[in-house]
């Protein structure tokens, strides 16, 4: 028999290292053609750091995203980033990038003000042009300003940015500490179908809503959500390195034994974002890359309970566990009667 059930789970996730003390630097320099170099020590894992960070630099500088080139290759050329982990890059490195871009923007405006015979506070940058609003005669391109600064005044237009948090050691008795920069929020709703004969659980539908603060690049945020839900679902239904834990017997050793989800194992996963801006994050952004893998497991377990009345509290939620639980339940039920 097939039975359906629905399950809810919510989650929150902190941005930044668990004990604080982490920081990131950024360097933005303006080249004489008006493009910018963004230099960071942040590793790109695929989540899109090398995309969202130049987006922020472009926004601050008033130049197109395509005019920012990123270097993040090595420890000789790049300033420190603590690391691509702890859902921290968008927030921490992002803040450093905003700061660096703001610094170099101030230099640009000061140079431009001299050239345009005005003061920096009268100027704005729109699409690479520094201008006095409503006075078309008073405008100059960033490239011309940078060229003049470099080749006429011999000034190197480079801005530094640094952002970090103080380390926060927990109180040994109470654990009191301030371990986070901001929190992101999530809620997931899953519908499953359980085959009571085989114990096989099929996910019929999965809807997730994530508060991510400001989504710097909504397509990449969606990628993180879908990818995370897929990973969390795969963990839940398929994965354990020690299938007979705590025994080390039959430990998985290859992709043949250690089955991760394929295209055909991914259920329909829908996601939406809500944006509650963070305090202190760049443009109000929050870190959300890691948390997306967390709600699926409890939501699926709760949905299975809703469907067939058994709690699977040990992952992975294999058909065997469901079947054993159903049988134990059946035995208990018949004993009661």
């Amino acid at each position: 028999m097939k039975k359906r059930g629905k399950g809810l789970a919510v989650a929150f996730y902190p941005t930044g290292l668990g004990g604080g003390g982490d920081f990131s630097h950024a360097i933005v320099k303006i080249k004489p053609d008006g493009t910018a170099d963004l230099i960071i020590g942040t590793v790109e894992l695929g989540q899109g750091a090398r995309t969202v960070l130049p987006q922020m630099a472009a926004e601050v500088l008033g130049i197109p995203y395509e005019h920012v080139r990123v270097t993040n290759s090595d420890t000789d050329s790049c300033p420190i980033c603590f690391g691509t982990f702890a859902s921290r890059v968008t927030y921490f490195t992002g803040n450093a990038v905003v700061q660096a871009a703001t610094n170099v923007k101030q230099m640009l405006l000061a140079e431009a003000a001299t050239l345009l015979d005005t003061t920096p506070d009268t100027l704005e940058i729109v699409n690479g042009i520094i201008q006095v609003p409503d006075d078309p005669k008073k405008s100059i391109s960033i490239g011309d300003v940078a060229f003049s600064a470099l080749y006429v005044k011999h000034k190197f237009l480079v801005g530094n940015g640094c952002f970090g948090r103080a380390a926060s050691r927990p109180d040994p008795e109470t654990g009191a500490c301030d371990p986070l920069a901001t929190l992101a929020w999530a809620a997931t709703w899953v519908e499953v179908e359980v085959d009571t004969e085989t114990g096989v659980v099929e996910i019929i539908d999965s809807k997730s809503v994530y508060d991510v603060g400001k989504a710097i690049n909504p397509a990449l945020v969606r990628g993180q959500i879908i990818g995370g839900v897929a990973m969390g679902t795969s963990w839940t239904l398929l994965e354990s390195l020690y299938p007979y834990y705590p025994s080390p017997e039959h430990e998985a050793r290859s992709f043949r034994d250690y089955a991760i989800a394929t295209t055909m194992d991914i259920p329909t996963m829908e996601s939406r974002m809500v944006e509650c801006l963070s305090v202190g994050g760049p443009f109000g952004a929050k870190g959300m890359g890691e948390m997306t893998a967390n709600p699926p497991a409890p939501a699926i377990v709760n949905a299975v309970h809703d469907a067939v009345g058994v709690w699977i509290t040990k992952l992975p939620l294999t058909p065997e566990k469901v079947l054993r639980a159903l049988e134990a339940n059946g035995r208990a039920a018949s004993a009661e009667h």
Binding site: T198, Y244, H250, D257, A259, A261
Partner: protein
């Protein structure tokens, strides 16, 4: 190292002769889907002195000879799944082969390799057993024919002696009164290795089951043909309760092991259910 040899003969007898000369370790390469991962582990001394490649022998034919479907040992899973001959005369095999691994694996892996590697979960073997297929084994002195059932009984030793090559498989073509079913279950849905597979081929005459070959894979050291299911099914019309009994019978014959993919306990359960479901679908 110096004397290592890659041989790619174009004549079957020549291939047998090369193999028969012996001397050192020999491996036979067809699609490579099982053999190459083993070589890739690069265990010291794991490399053969002679690697005989069958690709030049053109054993990838599929044809119908009278009431027999003949499939060359080097036909790939994709060749078989795609063949109109197989789909018409042994659709069970086409179905089983169409679900082995992923497209790239099916493009390389061969039916001969699937049988010769004697994996407990070899879907090709399980299907061929249900179809009561025979296989032709070539040697320098000529061909001999044997039942696939007699070939796959031992998970550790091969019937092939030096100088022998599996040439082709002979499958009796299905008649209108034959019905077939195939089900496999694994950890996941895409590109998976059978944790349990069931192949069934039954004959219905006058509304009753007149013969039944029910096979199970991955629940014993080798795929096997159920010895107890026919007695339960034969002479009676297929019904749900009969299907369930047959499932229990096959499950009792099964001798699975715990492994990374599933426990023996679960394999015993699932094989009974798969047999039941396969038969109900045929009723």
């Amino acid at each position: 190292m110096l004397n290592q040899r890659f041989a790619s003969p174009t004549d079957l007898r020549e291939a047998c002769s090369i193999l028969g000369q012996g001397g050192g370790r020999t491996a036979i390469l067809a699609g490579g889907t099982d053999l190459m991962p083993r070589f890739n582990r690069r265990r010291p001394g794991g490399r053969p002195d002679l690697l005989l490649y069958l690709g030049g022998l053109h054993l990838d034919y599929i044809r119908v000879e009278g009431h027999t479907l003949v499939i060359g040992a080097c036909a790939t899973h994709e060749d078989i799944a795609d063949s109109s001959h197989v789909r018409e005369h042994a659709p069970l095999l086409a179905k089983a082969c169409s679900e082995i691994g992923s497209p790239a694996i099916r493009n390389a892996g061969t039916i001969g390799g699937n049988v010769c590697n004697r994996a407990s979960f070899a879907d090709g073997s399980t299907a061929l057993l249900a179809l009561d297929a025979s296989m032709v084994i070539a040697s320098e002195s000529g061909d001999r024919i044997m039942k696939v059932e007699d070939f796959v009984t031992n998970p550790f030793m091969t019937y092939l002696k030096p100088g022998m090559i599996v040439k082709e498989f002979h499958i009796p073509v299905m008649l209108p009164e034959h019905k077939w079913g195939w089900q496999k279950w694994g950890q996941r849905r895409g590109s998976f290795i059978s944790v349990t597979s069931v192949a069934a081929c039954i004959k219905i005459q006058d509304g009753a089951c007149s013969s039944a070959r029910i096979c199970a894979g991955a629940v014993a050291p080798t795929p096997f043909v159920s010895k107890t299911a026919p007695a339960i099914l034969e002479g009676r019309p297929l019904s749900e309760s009969l299907a369930e009994k047959a499932g229990v019978a096959v499950s009792e014959e099964a001798d699975p092991q715990d492994d990374t993919r599933a426990s023996a306990w679960y394999r015993k359960r699932i094989v009974a259910i798969l047999v039941k479901r396969t038969l109900i679908a045929l009723a």
